[in-house]
Each structure stands twice: as C-alpha cells, then as structure tokens.
Amino acid sequence: MNALSVSPARPASPGFSRGVGAVVAAVGAVVFAGWMSDPHALDRLASGGETMKANAALGFFLSGGALLLLTLSGAWARQMARGCVMAVAGIALVTLAEYATGASFGVDEFLARDPGAVTHPGRMAPHTMLGFLLTAEALWLMSQAPGTPRRPLILGWLGALGIGMGIFALLDHAAEFGFGNRWWGLAGMAIQAAALFVGLSVAVLHFAWRDAGKRWVIGSGQTVGFASGLLLLVAVAIFSQRSARQLVEAAGEVQRTHAIIGKIWEVSIDLEQQQSGVRGYLLTGDEALLALYRKAIPGAREDVREVRELLAGNAMQLRRLDVVERHIIEREELWRQTIELHRNSGPEATAKQVAIRQGKVMSDELRLRLNEMEADEERQLAAHQEQARATTARAFVLLPAGVLLSLILMSVGVLRLNGEATERQRGTELLAWEKSALELIGGTASLHPVLEELMVGLERQLPGALCSILLLDDTGERLRHGAAPSLPDEYNRLIDGVAIGPAVGSCGSAAFGNRQVIVADIASDPLWADYRDVAQRHGLRACWSTPIHCSAGKVLGTFAIYYREPRHPTPAELEVIVRAVHVARIAIERKRAEENIHRLTGELEQRVAARTAELQTANAALTDFKAALDTHAIVAITDPQGKITYANDNFCAISRYAREELLGQDHRILNSGHHPQSFMRDLWETITGGRVWQGEIKNRAKNGAFYWESSTIVPFLGTDGKPVQFIAIRTDITRRKMVEEALRDSEERMRLAAEAADTGVWEWDVRTDVLQWDERMFAIYGLPPAPGGRAVYTDWRAAVFPADLADQEAVLQNTIAACGRSHREFRIVRADDRAVRVIHGAEMVVPGADGKAARVVGINLDITARKRAEEEIVKLNEALQSRAVELEAANRELEGFSYSVSHDLRAPLRAVDGFSRLLVEDCGPQLGDEGRRMLGVIRSETRRMGRLIDDLLAFARLGRQPIEPTPIDMHALAREVFNELAALEPERQLSLDLRPLPPACGTPAMIRQVWVNLIGNAIKFTSERAVGEIGIGAREDEEGGTRYYVKDNGAGFDMRYVGKLFGVFQRLHTKEEFDGTGVGLALVQRIVQRHGGKVAAEGEVDRGATFSFTMKKLIP
C-alpha cells in the first residue's frame, strides 16, 4: 500500500453514485424477498415471461451495496465493497461456467425454486450474467486508488457497454422486437434487470467522468453517438425483417383460414347432396337418386380429411371435426338401414322411418357443428387480419422513426467526429507551431523578430485573427509594442507606450488586472470606452487579451487576439491562447535572458580590455628596461637547480646555441673544462647561500669556440630564504682573455698548429748540440721515432739528396751566422720506402743573451704533393694556352667565313633577284603569266635567302661580340620594342599587358634583340587572332634571378616539339603559315645563354605560347 492508496477512492461527488447504489440495492432486495416468499407472484408480475431470477436479484443487491459502500469513507467500507464485488463476480462466473459446460452446479435454484422458466429454471440470462461481470469489473476498478492508469478510459467503456446492453433489452421489451433478449431459447433479461444495469452503468460513467477530471473519457460522446446510431440502425433493420416475416405469416394464416372455410362449405354441400339423394330415393324409389347419394359419400369423406389436414394444430376445431365425422358416419349407417328397409319392406316402412325424423335430427346436428366450425374460423380470420394490420401500423411508425433517429445520431456523430478531426488537425498544427516556435526561440534571432514570427505562425492557425504581443516596460506601467504583424501600423503606434489601467482596452486591463480579458464586442464594452474609436477606425471588433507571466508570476506583457467581427472564443481557441501565452512567455524570458547575458559579456570584455591595457603599460616599461639590459649584457636566468629558464639573444649569440637548446639545460653545457671543480663548487655554494657571485668564467660555445665572460650572478630568494631563481648578468671579455691566453699559450698553440698542418718541428740547441725532432719529423723522413725525440743530424744528411745537400748546409750555416731566418726547398729519399720527397724547410734562430745563436727552431713540410700539383697546373696552363691559340685561329677563320658569306653569298642573290626583275621588265610580255609567276617565286625565294643569310650572320656575330654588362631598364625597353613593332603593323589589333619589369644587367643591343625577337614572334603568331593579346611580365626565378616572359594568345605550339624551338633553322610552322627564318629563337637563346641565363617556352596548339628567359638580378 503506497501513500496514494491511503485515501480511499471516492468520486468527488458521491451523491449520484450513492442514490443509484441505494436504488439498485433496494430493488434487488425486494425482488429477492419476493423469491423467498412467493415465486408465483413474481411470475404473474412479469407476464411477458422474463423474471428476474433470485441469483440476479442477489447480484443487484450486492452491486448496489458495493456502489453505496464506495461512496463512504473508511477502509472498512472499501473492504466490504470489495467483498460484495467478489461475490457478484463469483455468482456471474459460476453461471458462466454452467453455460459454458452445459452442466448445472446447483446454484440456479439454490435459493428459490423457479416455477416458470423454460430451459434452465432459476438461471439468470446469459447477458444478465455478462452484465454482472462488467459491473463487477467496473466496481473493482472503482475501488482502486485514484490515478490507476487508464482507469477512466476502461470505466468509460465498461459503462458504455452496460448502458448499451441495458437499453437493448429495454427496447426489446418496450417494442416487443422479440430479438436479442432471448438467446437460443434461453431466458431473457428481465426488464427490471435491464433498467438496473442502465442505472449502474450511468453511475460508472459518472464516476469515470469525474475521475478523468470531468472529461469524456472514451474519446467523446460523439463516438458513442455514432456507435449507438449504428446500433439502432442495425436494430431497425432486424426489426423490419421481423415485421416482414410476421406479415407474411399473418397472410399465410388468412389464406389457410379462407381454405378451411371453403372446405367446410364443401363438406356441408356434400352432406346436403347425400341427404337429397337419399330422400329422393326413399320418396320415389328412383335408383338414380340412390346412385347420386352413393356417389357423394366418398367426396364428403375426402373433404373432411382435407379439412383435418388444414386444421392441423388447432385442437378445438379438430375436436369439433371429430364430432362432425362421427355424425356423418352415424347418418350414413342410418341411411343404409333405411335404404335396406325400403328395399326389403317397401316404402311404408321407410316412410315410418322418415316419420320418426331421426335422420333430420342428425343432419341438423351435423349442420350446426359445421356452422360452429365456420364461425370459429371466421373469428380467427378476423384475428389474423387484425394482427397483420397492427404489425403494419407498428412498422409504419417505428421504421421511419428508427431510421430517422439513427440517421440523426450518426450524422451528429459524423459531424462531431469531423469536428474532432478538425480539432485534432488544429492540435497538430498548434504542436507544429509550438515546435517551430521553440526552434525559433532557440535560434539567434532577437526578441522582436521572434515574436513577429510567432504571431504570423499563430495567425495562420486562426483564420481571421490578428495576433499581437505587447510587452510591459521596466517600470511595469506601460505597454510597449512587442509584435503585431497584421495590425495596422498606425494602430500599433497609438497603442505603443499606453499606460495600463483598470479600463484600458483589453490589453491594458489584462496587464493591470493580471487576468484574461475577453472583449467579444469592442463597440459595446466599457473597457474600450477610450479606445473604441481607434479600434473601430481600423475595423477591430473583438479583442481577447491574456497576460503573459514570467515564471515568478510577474506580468511580462499581454497576448491578444483581435477579430474584425464580434465573437467569443471557442474552447479550442482558449486552448490555443493558453499555449500561445506559454510559448510567448518562453520566448520573452529566454530572449531577455540572452540579452542580459550579452550585455554582461560585453561589460566583462570591457573590463578585461581595460585591465589588459594597464598590464600592457606596466609590461611595456619592464620590456624597455629589459631591452636595455639585453642589449648590453648576456643575461641568463636559471631555476634553483641551475636549469636555464631564460636566455637572451646575446647569450644565444655568444654561446652559438639556439635558445631552445639552452632552455632546460644547466650551465654545464657551456663547460670549457678550464676551471677546476673547486671553482665551480665555490660559485655554486656562494649563490645557493644567497650571496652574489662575481668573477670571470671561461665557457665553450656550441661550435667549440671558447669565450670569457665577466659574470655577476644574483640569487633571488623566496620567503623561506632559499633561492627561487638566479639571474646572471655577464659581459663578453673574450678578447681581453684571448690576448692573455695567446701570450701565455703561444708555444703550445704553435705546437698544435704545427701538428694540425702536418708540419714537422725540430729544434737544435746550438750550445748543447742536441737535435730534437717531433713525431712528424720522424714520419716525414720515414724514420722510427726516437725516444725523447732525440734525432741525429747525420740521419738528416743521409736522407737529403746528395745534389741538394751542399746548398742546404750552406743556407743553414748562413742563417745561424746571421741569426736570421731562412726558407729552403730540397729533396730527400725517405728512409722506409726509398721514395723521393720534396721538403720545404724553414727555420729561425733564437739568439741567446749574448746575441749569438742559442737555438735554431725549424719546420719541415713535405710538399711533394703540392709540387706535383703545381707541375700539373703548369702543364694544364700550357695546354690551355695552345687551345686558346687554336680557338683564336678558329675564331678568325669563322670571322673570315662569315665575312665572305656576307659578301659573297649576298651578291649572287642580288643578281638573281635583279635580273629576274629585269627579265620581267624587259621581256614581260613574252614571258606570259606563268613565266612571270615563276620569276616571282624565284625572287621571293631569293629575298628569303637574303634574310636567312642576314640572320645567320647576326647569329654568328653574336658569338664573337663581347658581353658588356650595363644596367638596362627592361620595362622601358620592352615597351619601346613593342611600340616599334606594333607601329610596323598598324592594321593589327594588339593589346599589351605589360607588368612592371625589374631592371637587368646585360649588353643593351643584345637584350634589345631578345625583346625584338620574342615580341616580334608574339605579334607574328597572333596574326590570326582578332586581337593579339600580348602579356609581358617578370617574376622571381627559382635560382634567384628574374624570369622575364612574353605571353601571347596566338597559334601556340605542341609541347612535344619544345626541344626544337630554340635550334637554328628549326621551325614549327611553314613559312606560308608564318614567315620566318628559324633563327630568331636560336638567337634569343644564344644571347640569353651568353648572359648566363636560360630560356624556356611553354605552349599549347592554338592556345598561345609563353616564352621566357632569365637574367641575373641587377645588383646595384
């Protein structure tokens, strides 16, 4: 039991349930009491046949009691109610089991004997049983705690089913439909039971309605209406089928009755004929008459048999017919005796017989019976006719009425269902609107556009509505324009800023009173007294305004719907308003919060900026100071462990380390090894002890160079007195130190130098005559090193070439004598491999205090390789010189050649051309056209040849012309060349795109030729273009020079042949396409190459070409 179920389930208004429960329980009790006392009385009471059985009565008593108990508070009442419900369910379930199995469990007549039942005496009808099951289920649910899932819905359907069943049974009773109540010949539901079920079901429905918050729970009454209409229609259909069958049956009965009456008549006639026949014979003795009689006998018997057949089922009439038949047989016997008497005894005996009139009595009796039968049939006929008439009349009334009613119900149902669909549609649209509204609110748009958009969306849902939102300003006294996309601007302007008050239109009043203000007709509403004219001027007739609250309940503004006609809101519209206000609230709160955040962010940014500026100022001052320090000194900062955390540029420069290489290292990286460990320990102890250390330190840079610094290391102490960092400020004193060191270490350095230069050093102490060689000396002479470097002079003498020895010794003697210096070159034979080496020797005499030679210090250097190289060079030089001479000769030859070409080749051409011309002039007429044409060909080819020669000569000349580098303004030159060339072809459309060209250095005439050829080509090869587009520009070359280019949109060329472009006489076009000799580009290449540049070309057939060349940059 959870907390919820502590308070028992009780309808909010128990009065109705209590009343119904009491009535049902009372009726049940009365009927049950009836069963206990006199069952027959009840039978009489319900003459139609259906009686409420004792079990059913008990069930109703218990159900009503349960309903009553449920209205009472207290757990006991609920427990008792549940007990009742279980009992009801038990009775119903046992009955169900009996019906299902066909067996009888003895509960039917357990309480009272049923005298009048048909099939199962005392057993309640199946639908009664069903009704009890439904009721039990409903009551059980009602006893549950409120909030049981889907309870209202289930209860609703249970109630609806119960009512349906009850009404069905009631209708059956009322209209004697004769269907639906008695199933398969079983007992039907008693009319009282039906009424009680209806009552109970209504109570259940009422409970469900309250339970669901006073709402229709099974979707709607409309569904029920439609369903019941359909049900009614089905009932009417069944009823009409029944009526028709009844009519047919009645008609059959009438017909049969008519047939019976007819037959009875025939029987009467037969009997009369028999009588007539007999009488006639008896009176006349005519045998013919007797035959007539005899003949009528079987007819009468036959007719009687037919009447009997027709009367099957009518016991009374059959009894009468039996009497008639008996009489007929008796009469026949009488007549047989009489006829026999007549034959035997004669007519007198017969007359006597006749006289006693026995026969007549019998006949009369017979006639009377037949008449009775006939009368009875006549009565029945009348009854059948009456029944048919009544059925017809009933059908006549009930059918149209039923159909009409069901149609009405269904139509209402359909219409309302339609309405529901519209409602649902509207609900869906509203949901969609809400969804899009929330998306919009979630977006970046600001409040007013969002509200506008919301109003537009809402107006789409409410045809004819003009929606507006007014926002309460910060003072809370005035309404400002929020959004009103469809209201006239002028109206919006007038309303904007209106002060709220108790009677200020709908919105002002709504905001003021914090309540919804529905003004259905502005024209008549007193709230609009001051604004009526304005509103009417704009055709506004209704205005429903609802305040928008914030989460805390404060009014944010109002949401209003205007209409151009007076009207009240429908419930659906009120629903829309509720949701619209909700959405508007979210929008306003959200957007205002965003604005707030935006504003706060802005302020924060400003403050950050201000603070940053302050810091920057302070920083700038520090930076200046630091810059000054950095400029002067080598600065390093280390952490307490000695790791470098800062190194200025000077530090990096002097140490040759990149900053990142220094950071994180300690100063051991710079250790030169010069200082003893104690020195460094002292330094470290000083500074870690918090004292300043000053001194000179020798360090080693990354490249191995040593440098000296005068260093001041300042420890910075933390609050605990321990250093947090050290700052070292140092000055480069390398130069001073170098001088010092140089002086001190000169000998050592010389030794090192000698070693490094592969130079052997010897020293001869003149006084002690001790000759000292270093290791290199021994190596040079191919001798094993002697211990202590002690060498023997004779070893040296032995090694020297005998031819050179005398000279060498003489030089040495002179040097010693003069206390001077000397240089010598001599040959030796190396001791170990007997190789001849050339040695360079140099020595210096160190004088003693007496001014005489004390020591001689000398070096020996094996210069064999150098000597050989020198000889090689000499040889090469000689070869080169002879080559130069050859070249000179070749050049001269070439010059001669070109000179003769220029003269000798040209002259014949001129003659050919000239005389061809003369031929035309002098003998033109005789030559004829063809002759003249051919001469024309000769002449044009001649001229071409002339140009070829010229170009070739120019090309050849180029090789000889010296390069005279001169600064050239390439830009001006290119422009000038273009202008000149363009002027030669005034008919051409040429466009030049000349980009700035950097100056170059070269021989002006040659470079000019380059431009002429390249631009000339560009003009030439664009001759088939409407506009020849020529681009000239320059860009940085990969190799540091400048690449100048000339670009055109002309015929271009196939990149496959790019290699041929620059060859002499190489042409990619025929001379018919483009005139030319094929020398131009070769010339360009030659010139450029001679200037140390390169040429390049790229192009595509019909897409133009770009020719470029590189020149070294002009270095001013």
């Binding site: 003269h903 002259a907 051309d913 000569l953």
Partner: protein, 148 residues
C-alpha cells in the same frame, strides 16, 4: 674621255654593276658613269695612273661608289689610300657593299667614308637605293671640289 665622269662605280661584280647602272640610268644619272672592276683600277682612275694615265687627275667624279670586297686592292685599302692623298682627301666616297659587318662599317667611317650603304638583296630596294644615292650625290649634295 672628254666628258668629265660624275660617278665612279667600283664594283667587281658585273651583275651588281649592271643593276646599279641600270638603276641610275633610269634616273638619267648614268650618263657620266665610269665603272671599274677592282681597287687598283679605281686608284688608277682617280690618280690618273696605269690605264688612266692620260686622264686629268684634277677632274674628279662627284661621287665614288665603292665596294669593299674587291680584287687586287680591297675597298678598305682603296679608301685608306684615297684619304691619304690630298687630291682625293675630300672626295665624296660612298661605300656600297654587301657587308653588314660592324667592323667594316666602323672601319669605313673611321677612314672617312661619307656614307655606308648595304646593298639590299631585293632588286627594287637596291635599285631605289642606288638611284636615290645618285640623285643625292649628284643633284642635292654640294660637292667639296670645284665643279668644272
């Protein structure tokens, strides 16, 4: 040789000479033209030596059209000798040659040539050049020497 010659054409190539003469003739300038085929002949003519020993050396042509590439004595040498001699020092000499060689051009001018014309290969140009030349030197130009 009674008629003083006005043009001395020094040209070893007879075809060129013919073309030149024809061009001049067209302008009626070739009436007093003397054509020699080598440098020696030119010198002989101007200095009235050799074959021209009977000529009056005081009478000089108004212009000498001198080819550079000549048999025996070449044009440059002829020019040098003419300029070296007082009688022909100021004689208008037009170098008319096939050579475009810069060396030739410079040397010719340095030796005192009055003009340097490269013979065009095309006949029209050649003929025009020659006739213009004749026109200029015979009619327009005022000769340095007294006319006879």
């Amino acid at each position: 040789m009674n008629t003083p010659s006005e043009i001395l054409l020094v040209e070893d190539n007879l075809h060129d000479a013919e073309l030149a003469i024809r061009a001049l003739r067209k302008r009626n300038l070739a009436n007093h033209l003397v054509h020699v085929a080598d440098g020696q002949a030119a010198l002989d003519f101007l200095f009235a030596a050799g074959d021209y020993v009977e000529r009056d050396a005081a009478v000089q042509p108004r212009v000498v059209l001198l080819d550079l590439k000549l048999p025996k004595v070449d044009g440059i040498e002829v020019l040098r000798r003419l300029r070296a001699d007082a009688r022909t020092k100021v004689l208008p000499i037009v170098v008319l040659t096939s050579s475009r060689e810069e060396r030739d051009v410079i040397e010719s001018y340095q030796l005192g040539a009055n003009s340097y014309i490269v013979k065009p290969v095309e006949f029209e140009n050649f003929s025009e050049a020659v006739s213009e030349l004749g026109l200029y030197w015979l009619l327009i130009n005022e000769p340095p020497l007294r006319k006879l």
